[in-house]
C-alpha cells in the first residue's frame, strides 16, 4: 500500500481497541521471567558452548602477537579465534568501526579474540590467559584539543535529525550585529552510554553454510544484511531471531561484535556458541552518544521576536564517522528571518560515536533550550511567553512548507497551567525551604517524525484468530501490544484473539525500532496487511468488500453476516503487504512537540540537586496506547534526568578510553532520583503521517528535559551552568553563603 495522500476515515478511527490504555500483552511473560531474551534460548540449539570475548587493551596501534598456548591448554577450551587468524572482516553498511579481524586497533576494547569453552567459567579464565603484545601508537582523544582541526561536515543521523554542513537563511551576521538584545554562549555535552540493561548477546548455530543467530537487535533486516556482509556469506543463508530485546536506545541498531564473534566461534567450535558482551565492554566496544561543543547566538528585538539565530556544533568520531546532528532542531523550532546552522567533525580515536535515543535533538535541545532561557531573562520575558512569541507554523527555512501539525504553544500553555508555572519567581534564588533552594524550569520538546516502509503478514484461522508476523522488534516500546491492537481493530476481533510474532528475519521486513518511527510505521504496515486480509475475507464470503464491516468476530454486508473464521477455511487465509510512503514527508514537515516542566531543589550547602516534580505535555499525533506511550515518555524523562545531572563517559585522554565503563562508574538514575512523573497527551490526529494518524513518541520525552532541569537549577540558585552533566562540583563555589 502506498500512502501518498492524507488519510481519510478508516477502520482505525473506530477506536474500539486502538487508543485504549490496554495492558501490554507481553506483560505476563515479562513479569514472570518467561519472556526469552537472546542469551536464554537453551531450547533452540543443543550442545551450546560458551564464548567469552577479549577486548583490546590499547586504543590505537597494532596487535603484534598473541600467545594462546596456555589458553588452548586450559580445561574445557574448545576453540579460540583471534584477530590475527584472519584479515580484517568487511564492515557492515551501518558500522563505522571495524568489528573484527586483522592486527590494527582502532579503539579501546575492540574485540581481539573469542574463547569458546564448555562452561562460562572456563571460557572466562582461559581468556585471561591470552598474552597479547601490542605496538601502541599515539591517538587523538581530546575533543576540545581537536576542535580547532574539525572540518565542516553534513550528516543525516538516519533517525530524523540531520543538517547540511552549513546552512544559511538571510543574513545572520548582519541581523545579529543589529539586534538590540543578543546572546552568544558556548555549551558542552559529554559522551553518553546507552547502558541498556541487557548487554549485547547472541547465540549462533551453523547448519552447513546456513547460520541462525538468536540475538538482541533493534533492526533485524539491517542486522541480517550486515552480518552476511561481514562474514562474506549470502544474506539468504542468515537468519536472525530477536523476539525480546532488553533495551536498546540505539545501542542495538546495528550489527555488533557479539553476533559476529558468536558466529565465528561457532564455526571454529563446530557447535552452537552463546556469548554476551561483559558489562565493561558495553561502553568501549559498542557505540555511544558523542560529546559536543555547541555555540549558540541569538539576536532579538526588545519585544522578544528573534531576528537572528545561529547554532553550531562540533563533535568527534573515528575516521569515516559522522557528526552528532545537534543543530537539527534549530532549523525548525523557532521563527527568525536570519539563520545559520553548522556542524563540524573532528577525528578522534575513541570508540564509535553513533545514534543514541533522539540523536541530534537530545544534546541539541539540552543546549538551545538553555540558550532560550538565558535570552528570555535578558529580554525580561517569561520563558514560556518568549517561546510562544517565536512559534512558527511553517519550516522557517522553507516557508512554503507547513508543519502537518504543530501544537507547541498548546503544550506550553497547558503545561504552564497544570504545573502552576505562575507561582515561579522570575528572580532566581528567591525560593528557599530550609536548606533547599527551589526553582522551576521549562523547555520546549521537539523531535522529528519519521515514517519508514514496513511490512507484515496476517493470518486468519478457522476460529477467528488472527496471527501477525513481522520482523518488527519490541525493545520495551510496546510493539507487541500496539500491533495486536491494530490487528484487532482492523479485523473486528477481541485483543485476545490476536497473536503477535516479532523479531524473526524470516518474517516480512518492518520499519524496525529506531528514531521513534517504530510504533507508527509498524502498525501502518499491519494496517496495510489487514486491508488486504479484509478484501480476501470479503471475497471468500462473497461479500462486497467496500461495504463489509468487521465487528465482534463477525463480517457484515447489507443484511448478510458470517463469522470471521468461516472465511478462513481449513487452511486459513493469509495476506501480506507493506506500507510505503509518497512525498507527504517532503510537502509537510512532520514533527512532535512537548512542553517540559520541572521543579528542582538544590541543597544550598552541598549543591546536591533533587528533581521534585516533572510534567511533559506532548503533541504527537494519535496515541495508539496511552499506557505504553506514557511509559515511553516517563522513561525518556528519566533518561533526561540522567543526562542533566549525572551521565558522563569520562575520557582518559592519555590512553584513550572511557574509564567509567560499568554501571557503578557510569551513573544512571535510580529509583531515589525520580519523583512521580506526569504526562499529558494533547488530542491530536495527524492524517499526513500514516493511516494510523499517529506519530512517534518514544524519543520526544527525552528532548528538552535536560534543559528544563538546568533552567530549574538556575531559577533555584542563580548559578548558570553550561556544561553537562550539572554535577554539584560545578556550582558549589558559586552558591550563596550559608548563614
Amino acid at each position: 500500500m502506498k500512502f501518498d495522500t492524507p488519510a481519510t476515515n478508516n477502520p482505525i478511527d473506530q477506536l474500539k481497541i486502538v487508543g485504549k490504555p490496554v495492558d501490554r500483552i507481553d506483560g505476563p511473560r515479562k513479569t514472570t521471567g518467561t519472556a526469552p531474551y537472546a542469551y536464554e534460548r537453551h531450547d533452540v540449539a543443543p550442545n551450546q558452548a560458551y564464548g567469552y570475548v577479549l577486548g583490546s587493551g590499547i586504543a590505537k596501534g597494532r596487535v603484534t602477537a598473541m600467545d594462546t598456548a596456555a589458553a588452548r591448554a586450559a580445561p574445557g577450551v574448545v576453540a579460540i579465534v583471534t584477530t590475527l587468524d584472519m584479515p580484517r572482516l568487511e564492515k557492515g553498511a551501518m558500522n563505522t568501526a571495524w568489528l573484527f579481524g586483522g592486527p590494527d586497533i582502532q579503539h579501546y576494547h575492540q574485540v581481539i579474540a573469542v574463547v569458546v569453552a564448555e562452561t562460562f567459567e572456563q571460557a572466562r579464565d582461559a581468556t585471561a590467559m591470552i598474552r597479547v603484545s601490542y605496538a601502541r601508537e599515539p591517538g587523538r582523544f581530546d575533543l576540545a584539543a581537536e576542535a580547532p582541526n574539525a572540518q565542516l561536515a553534513a550528516a543525516d543521523s538516519g533517525e530524523g535529525s540531520g543538517a547540511a554542513h552549513e546552512e544559511r537563511t538571510g543574513d545572520f551576521e548582519g541581523a545579529f550585529a543589529q539586534a538590540p538584545v543578543t546572546l552568544d554562549a558556548t555549551y558542552t555535552t559529554p559522551d553518553e552510554s546507552h547502558a541498556m540493561m541487557e548487554p549485547h548477546s547472541s547465540i549462533a548455530a551453523w547448519e552447513g553454510d546456513k547460520l541462525t543467530v538468536w540475538t538482541s537487535n533493534q533492526m533485524i533486516a539491517w542486522g541480517k544484511r550486515d552480518l552476511a556482509k561481514t562474514l562474506g556469506i549470502p544474506a539468504e543463508n542468515v537468519r536472525l531471531d530477536s523476539p525480546y530485546v532488553g533495551g536498546g536506545f540505539g545501542g542495538k541498531l546495528f550489527l555488533r561484535a557479539d553476533a559476529v564473534l558468536a558466529a565465528l566461534g561457532a564455526r571454529a567450535a563446530r557447535r552452537p556458541v552463546k556469548l554476551a558482551l561483559t558489562r565493561p565492554l558495553v561502553a568501549n566496544n559498542t557505540t555511544h552518544r558523542p560529546a559536543t561543543i555547541q555555540r549558540v547566538r541569538i539576536g532579538a528585538e526588545r519585544d522578544g521576536r528573534i531576528t537572528a539565530i545561529a547554532h553550531e556544533s562540533t563533535s568527534g568520531d573515528l575516521p569515516d564517522g559522522k557528526p552528532e546532528t545537534a543543530v537539527s532542531q534549530t532549523k525548525l523550532l523557532y521563527a527568525g528571518a536570519n539563520r545559520l546552522t553548522a556542524m563540524r567533525l573532528a577525528v578522534l580515536d575513541l570508540p564509535e560515536g553513533n545514534a543514541m535515543r533522539a540523536p541530534g535533538e537530545a544534546p541539541g535541545l539540552m543546549v538551545i533550550e538553555i540558550a532560550m532561557d538565558e535570552m528570555a531573562e535578558k529580554l525580561g520575558m517569561d520563558p514560556v511567553e518568549f517561546r510562544i512569541v517565536n512559534d512558527t507554523q511553517v519550516d522557517p527555512e522553507h516557508p512554503q512548507r507547513p508543519f502537518s501539525q504543530r501544537q507547541l504553544i498548546q503544550c506550553l500553555r497547558q503545561g504552564a497551567e497544570r504545573f502552576g508555572w505562575s507561582r515561579r519567581n522570575a528572580t532566581p534564588g528567591r525560593r528557599r525551604e530550609g536548606n533547599w533552594l527551589v526553582g522551576m524550569g521549562v523547555a520546549a520538546g521537539f523531535r522529528n517524525n519519521l515514517v519508514m516502509k514496513s511490512g507484515a503478514r496476517v493470518r486468519l484461522d478457522g476460529s477467528g484468530g488472527v496471527t501477525v508476523e513481522t520482523d518488527m522488534t519490541d525493545i520495551g516500546t510496546g510493539s507487541y501490544t500496539v500491533i495486536a491492537q491494530t490487528a484487532a481493530e482492523m479485523m473486528g476481533v477481541a485483543l485476545e484473539k490476536v497473536t503477535v510474532r516479532l523479531g524473526d528475519s524470516s518474517f516480512p521486513v518492518s520499519a524496525g525500532s529506531g528514531g521513534q518511527w517504530g510504533g507508527n510505521s509498524s502498525t501502518a504496515g499491519v494496517y496495510a496487511a489487514c486491508v488486504k486480509l479484509r478484501e480476501a475475507v470479503a471475497q471468500r464470503l462473497g461479500f462486497n468488500s467496500a461495504e463489509a464491516e468487521f465487528t465482534d468476530g463477525q463480517v457484515r454486508a447489507g443484511n448478510r453476516s458470517a463469522p470471521l473464521g468461516q472465511a478462513a477455511g481449513a487452511d486459513g487465509l493469509v495476506a501480506e503487504d507493506h506500507i510505503e510512503y509518497g512525498d507527504l514527508g517532503e510537502r509537510f514537515q512532520q514533527s512532535t512537540f512537548a512542553g517540559h516542566f520541572v521543579e528542582v531543589a538544590v541543597d544550598v550547602a552541598t549543591g546536591e540537586t533533587r528533581v521534585r516534580r516533572m510534567l511533559a505535555v506532548c503533541a504527537a499525533g494519535r496515541i495508539l496506547n496511552p499506557k505504553s506511550a506514557r511509559s515511553q515518555v516517563i522513561g525518556a524523562m528519566t533518561m533526561g534526568v540522567g543526562a542533566a545531572l549525572m551521565e558522563e563517559l569520562a575520557v582518559d585522554k592519555r590512553h584513550g578510553f572511557f574509564v567509567n565503563h560499568d554501571l557503578a562508574g557510569y551513573e544512571v538514575p535510580v529509583h531515589a532520583d525520580i519523583p512521580h512523573q506526569e504526562v499529558i497527551f494533547l488530542d491530536e490526529v495527524d492524517p499526513i503521517s500514516s493511516p494510523m494518524k499517529a506519530k512517534g513518541v518514544g524519543e520526544l520525552g527525552l528532548c528538552g528535559v535536560g534543559a528544563a532541569i538546568a533552567n530549574a537549577m538556575y531559577n533555584a540558585t542563580g548559578v548558570r551552568l553550561r556544561d553537562y552533566p550539572m554535577t554539584l562540583d560545578k556550582m558549589i563555589d558559586r552558591l550563596p553563603e550559608v548563614a
Binding site: T31, T32, G33, T34, Y37, M197, A276, T278, V670
Partner: protein, 169 residues
Amino acid sequence: MSKVSLRVNGEVRNLELDTRTTLLDALREHLQLTGSKKGCDHGQCGACTVMVEGRRIYSCLTLAVMHEGDAVTTIEGLGQPGNLHPMQAAFVKHDGYQCGYCTPGQICASVAMLEEIKAGVPSHATADLTAPSQLTAEEIRERMSGNICRCGAYSNIVDAITEVAGRPA
C-alpha cells in the same frame, strides 16, 4: 567441581558445579531458570535479584556452593502467566516495565522489600530509627534503589508497589 543442594522454589535441586559458578549462573545456565537476569555480573544493577531464605540478594555476587541447603525463590517461584503473584499483576496493571529485563529483579526486590518494612528494618530514608518503618513513596524509592531500570519505569514501579503494599494482607 563441587556438589551443592539448593531448594529452589520449593524443590530440592542437586547440582555438581564448578566452584566458581555464581548462584545466578547456577540458576540461569544449570537449572535453566532464566527469569533471573544478568545485567552486569558485578553487583551493580539488581537484575539478578532473588530471595535466599526470604532475603533479597544479588545472585551474581554470591557463589552457588555457598548456599548448601538454602531456600532460593526466583521470579518463576512467585507466579506464572495465568497465575500471577499480586506484585506481578500490579506491575502489569501499572506498566511497571518496558523492555522487561530488569523486571524480575524489581519484582523479587519489591516483594522482599515490603517484608523488610514490615519487620521494621530501617533505611537511609527512615527519619525515626526506633519507630515502625513507614510505607512512604520515599521509603520505597530509597529501598528499591539497588535495582536499576534503564527504561525508566520507576514512577510506575512505585505505583505498583504502593498498590500491593496498601492491600490488606
